[in-house]
Symmetry: C2
Subunit: 504 residues, 2 copies
C-alpha cells in the first residue's frame, strides 16, 4: 500500500520535473519566442532540415504525456482505493487538483489542457480554411480576446512557434485518446447492462426512471431562470439534461459493498438505472441536435427522439440474433487475437453508424456492448477490453477534471449555481423514489438513484466541447457530479441502516 503511494507520487513528481526540464517543446511553449507568434510570414528559408528533427522527436512528448497521465491515474486510483471510493472519483479529483496547480504555476501543458476547449475550434479553422493561424484565430475569437492577455492570444501563442507543434500534438492526442476512451467505456457499460437485464426491467423500475428524469430535468430547467437568465435556451436544456443521468456502475458497487444488492429496493434501483441510461443517451442525442440547430426546434427533436429510439429499439429486439451470429463466427475463429479484433471492429462500426445517422458515437458503442452482452461472450470480452479501457477511459476522466477551473468559484455565481444544481440533483431523484410505491422503502430507492457518473460526465464534456457550457457552469456541474458520486454512498449506507429490518 505504501509502495503504491510512493510509486504514484514518484511518477507524478517525475512528470512535473520532466515538463520543467523539457525545453524547448513542452516547457518552452509558454516562454519561448513571443515575437514569432504573429510573424506568420517570417519563415526561415531553410526550414526543412530542423523540421525533420522536430518530427522525429515529436513522439517523445506523446510518450511523456502518456507517462504523466498514467502517473496521475495511478495516484488517483490509489487515493480512491484508500478511501473506499469509486476509481472514477479519484481520477476526477486528481485531475482537478493537479490541473489547477499546474495551471496556477503556468506550466504550458496544464494551461493548454485548461484552454483545450477553445484550442480545438482554432485547430479546425486552420485546416478548414487553409488560412494562417492568426487569420483563423480572428474568425474564432472576438477582437478583445486577441489582445495580449486575452484567451485567444494565449491559445495562438501556445499553438505556434517553438512549442506550438508539441502543444497541437498533445491536444489532438488527448482528443483521440479520450474519445476512444468514451466509446470503449460505453461499450463496456453496454456489456455490463446486458440485453437480458434491459428486457427484464419491470414496470415499477421504468416508472422510477421516467419520473426521475422528468423531475430532475424540469427542476433543473426551472433553476436556470433566476440564475442563468441570459443563457440561450439550448444551453439551459443541456444543463438540465446533464443532471438527469444516474450511474449504474456506482450504484451497483455501493449496493454490493453494503451487501444489499438482493433487496427489493436494490432491484428497482438497478433496473431503473439501466432504463435511465437509455433515456440519458436519447436525451444526449436530442441535446446535441438542439445545439447544432442553434435553437429549440420541435421537429428536429421529435425526429432525433424517433431515430435514437428506433436504433436502440432495434438493438433490443434484434440484438440477440446479431449477437448469436457474431458469437458463432468467433467460435469458428482460431486465433485469440482475431477473436478480440472482430468485436472491437464491430463496436467502432456501430459507433460510426450511430454518428452517421445523427446520434452520438457513444450510443453506438453502447449498442455494440448490448449486442455482445451474451453470457457466453461477456466475461471474455471484458477481460480483453480491460487493458484498453484502463488506459484510455481514465484519460477522459482526467481531462474532465483538468478542465475544471477552480478560479471560477471566486465569482459568487458559480458556488450559488453549484448549490442549486446539487439540490435539483437530489430533489429530482428523491421524487423518483416516491414513485416506487409504498411496498418498498421509497427513501432508499431515491438514494440509490442519486449517483452521477459516466453518462453525466459525457454530457458535461460534450457541452463544453460544443461551447454551450461556459467554464463556470462546467465547473459547477463537475463539482456536482463529484459530490453526488461521493455523497450517494454515504446517503445509501445511512438509509439502509435506518431501517435495517426491511433489508433482504
Amino acid at each position: 500500500m505504501r509502495h503504491s503511494l510512493s510509486v504514484g507520487l514518484l511518477l507524478v513528481c517525475l512528470s512535473f520535473i520532466g515538463i520543467a526540464l523539457a525545453p524547448p517543446a513542452l516547457a518552452g511553449g509558454g516562454g519561448g519566442a513571443p515575437h514569432q507568434t504573429a510573424a506568420s510570414t517570417a519563415l526561415a528559408p531553410s526550414a526543412s532540415a530542423p523540421k525533420q528533427a522536430g518530427e522525429h522527436h515529436a513522439f517523445a512528448f506523446i510518450l511523456l504525456e502518456l507517462t504523466i497521465l498514467i502517473g496521475m491515474v495511478i495516484a488517483g486510483r490509489w487515493l480512491a482505493d484508500r478511501f473506499h471510493q469509486p476509481a472514477v472519483l479519484g481520477e476526477l479529483l486528481i485531475g482537478v487538483a493537479l490541473g489547477n496547480i499546474g495551471y496556477w504555476l503556468g506550466l504550458p501543458f496544464f494551461s493548454f489542457v485548461m484552454d483545450y476547449g477553445i484550442a480545438s475550434p482554432l485547430f479546425e479553422q486552420v485546416w478548414r480554411s487553409g488560412a494562417s493561424v492568426v487569420d483563423a484565430a480572428s474568425h474564432v475569437f472576438g477582437p478583445k480576446e486577441l489582445v495580449p492577455g486575452g484567451k485567444g492570444y494565449e491559445v495562438v501563442h501556445l499553438m505556434t512557434g517553438s512549442g506550438g507543434l508539441t502543444n497541437v500534438n498533445i491536444g489532438v492526442s488527448l482528443w483521440l485518446f479520450s474519445s476512444l476512451g468514451i466509446v470503449l467505456l460505453l461499450f463496456n457499460v453496454g456489456l455490463e447492462t446486458g440485453l437480458q437485464q434491459l428486457r427484464q426491467v419491470g414496470r415499477k423500475a421504468s416508472v422510477v426512471a421516467v419520473v426521475g428524469v422528468a423531475a430532475t430535468f424540469f427542476l433543473g430547467l426551472a433553476v436556470t431562470f433566476p440564475l442563468l437568465g441570459d443563457y440561450p435556451p439550448q444551453a439551459r436544456v443541456f444543463l438540465a439534461a446533464t443532471l438527469c443521468a444516474t450511474s449504474i456502475s456506482i450504484s451497483t458497487r455501493v449496493l454490493k459493498d453494503l451487501d444489499k444488492h438482493h433487496t427489493p429496493e436494490a432491484r428497482i434501483v438497478l433496473g431503473a438505472s439501466v432504463f435511465n441510461d437509455l433515456l440519458g443517451l436519447v436525451l444526449l442525442a436530442v441535446c446535441i441536435e438542439l445545439v447544432l440547430e442553434g435553437h429549440i426546434a420541435y421537429g428536429e427533436t421529435a425526429w432525433i427522439v424517433f431515430l435514437s429510439s428506433a436504433f436502440l429499439g432495434a438493438i433490443v429486439v434484434l440484438g440477440d440474433r446479431l449477437g448469436n451470429r457474431i458469437s458463432d463466427l468467433l467460435n469458428a475463429l482460431k486465433a485469440n487475437e482475431t477473436r478480440f479484433l472482430l468485436p472491437l471492429a464491430f463496436a467502432f462500426l456501430m459507433g460510426w453508424i450511430a454518428s452517421e445517422i445523427g446520434l452520438s458515437g457513444t450510443v453506438g458503442g453502447f449498442a455494440a456492448g448490448l449486442v455482445l452482452s451474451d453470457e457466453s461472450l461477456r466475461a471474455r470480452m471484458k477481460e480483453l477490453l480491460m487493458p484498453l479501457i484502463t488506459i484510455f477511459t481514465p484519460i477522459f476522466f482526467l481531462l474532465i477534471g483538468m478542465q475544471v477551473n477552480l478560479q471560477t468559484f471566486l465569482h459568487w455565481q458559480t458556488p450559488v449555481l453549484t448549490i442549486a444544481l446539487l439540490l435539483v440533483a437530489i430533489g429530482g431523484k428523491l421524487l423518483a423514489g416516491l414513485s416506487a410505491g409504498p411496498s418498498v422503502d421509497r427513501l432508499s430507492v431515491g438514494m440509490g438513484m442519486l449517483p452521477r457518473g459516466e453518462v453525466a460526465l459525457i454530457f458535461a464534456s460534450m457541452g463544453k466541447g460544443l461551447g454551450v457550457l461556459d467554464s463556470g457552469v462546467y465547473a459547477a456541474l463537475i463539482i456536482v457530479i463529484i459530490t453526488m458520486a461521493f455523497a450517494s454512498a454515504v446517503a445509501l449506507r445511512w438509509s439502509f441502516a435506518r431501517n435495517a429490518p426491511t433489508g433482504g
Copy 2:
C-alpha cells in the same frame, strides 16, 4: 475458417462502401471544392456554428478509419494463417494490395496514406510557422510540386477545404496509433528477448551476429555506388543499415514449427538474433543522428554509439535490480488495473528518456521490456499487452504496406535495386553462417539469420519519415523484407531437411 474469411472480406467491403458513402469529409476530400484550396483568405465570417458541428462528428471518421484498419488486419491475419505464414506478412501484404487498389481508384483515404510521408512536414510547418497552409507548403515543397498535378498541390488540396480536417485528423491519428504500436511492439520484443537470454548469448553467436551485420552493411553500401550513385552518403548508410536487422520472432517461429529449436544451429541462430537486435538498435540511433546532421559526422557517430551502448549496457547490468523493485511494487499493489498501468507508464517513461538522450523511443521500449522480462512478470505482462499490441502494432504494419507504391516498379531502377538488395540480404547472412565454425551446419545457421521483420520495418518507416528513403527505394526495401520473411521459412525447411541426421 470459412466464417473467418467471410467476416474479413465483409469488413473490408463495408469499409470501402463506407468510404465511398461518406461525403463530404472522407470521400469528398478529393472531389470537393478545388477552388477553396488556395483561397486562404476566403473565410466565411460566420464560420463558428457549422465548425462545431464538424468537430462533433470528426471522431466518427476516426471510428470508421479504425473499422477499416481492423477489417484489413483481420483479413491479413486470416490470409497469413491460411498459408501458415507469420501474421506480420499478411498485414504487410494486405496493406500493399488494398493500399495500391485504393490509390489507383483515387479514394482520398488511400491517396492520403500514400502521400502521408510528405503530408506530415506540411502539418508541422503550419504550426511551427503559424503561416497559411499554402505559404507553409511553399517552404516544404519546390515550385514544381505546387502546380496542379504536382505532389505538393495534391497534399495541400487533401489537407484543406471540406475534407481537409478529416484527412488531417486521419493523418495525425495514424501517426499516433502506429508510433504507439512500435513502442509497444519493441516492449514486447524486449519481454520476449529477456535479460537472462541476452546474457547467455555465447561467443559463437556474438561472432555470427557481428559478422552478419558487418558483411550485410558493407555489401549493401557497395551496391549503392553503381545503383544509387547520386544519393547523399547518409541515405546510402541508412539503406545498408536497414538490411542488417534480423527478425528474432520469425526465426523463433519457423524453428519451432520445424521442431528444430533445440538443435545447436538453432541455439546459435537465436542467440545471434538477440544480439543482432541490440546491434540493430544502436545502428538505428546512429543512422537517425547522421540524417539529422545532414552528413557523415564521425564525432557524432562515436558519441551516439557510446550513448546507446551505455544505455543498453546499463539495462543489461542493472536491469535485474530495477526489475525486482518494480516486481515488488507490483506485488504490493492490489488492483489488477494499477498492476498493468505501472509497467506501461515505465515503458513510456523509458521511451521518453531514450528519445531525450538522442536515441529512438523504440530503444526505450525495448529496454523497458528487458527490465520486466523476469519470469514472474513476463507471462502476465504479455497477456495484458496483447489487446494493445493487437490493435496498434498491426496499424504500423498496414501503414508500411499502404505506402509501398507499386507504380515505382514501372521504372527499371526499382526492380533492379530490389534484386540487388535481395542478393545483399542473403549474401551477408550466409557469410555470417560461415563464421559459425565447422562443428555445426553453417548453411542452416546462415539460413536462420535470413528473416527480416519488425526492426527492419522500423528502419524503413523511419527512413521514409525522415525523407532519406524516396518512394522507389522504400518500395524496394519493403518488398525485400516481405520476400525474406516468406522465403526464409522455405529456405530453413529445405536446409534442415537436407541434412536431417545433424538435427537434434
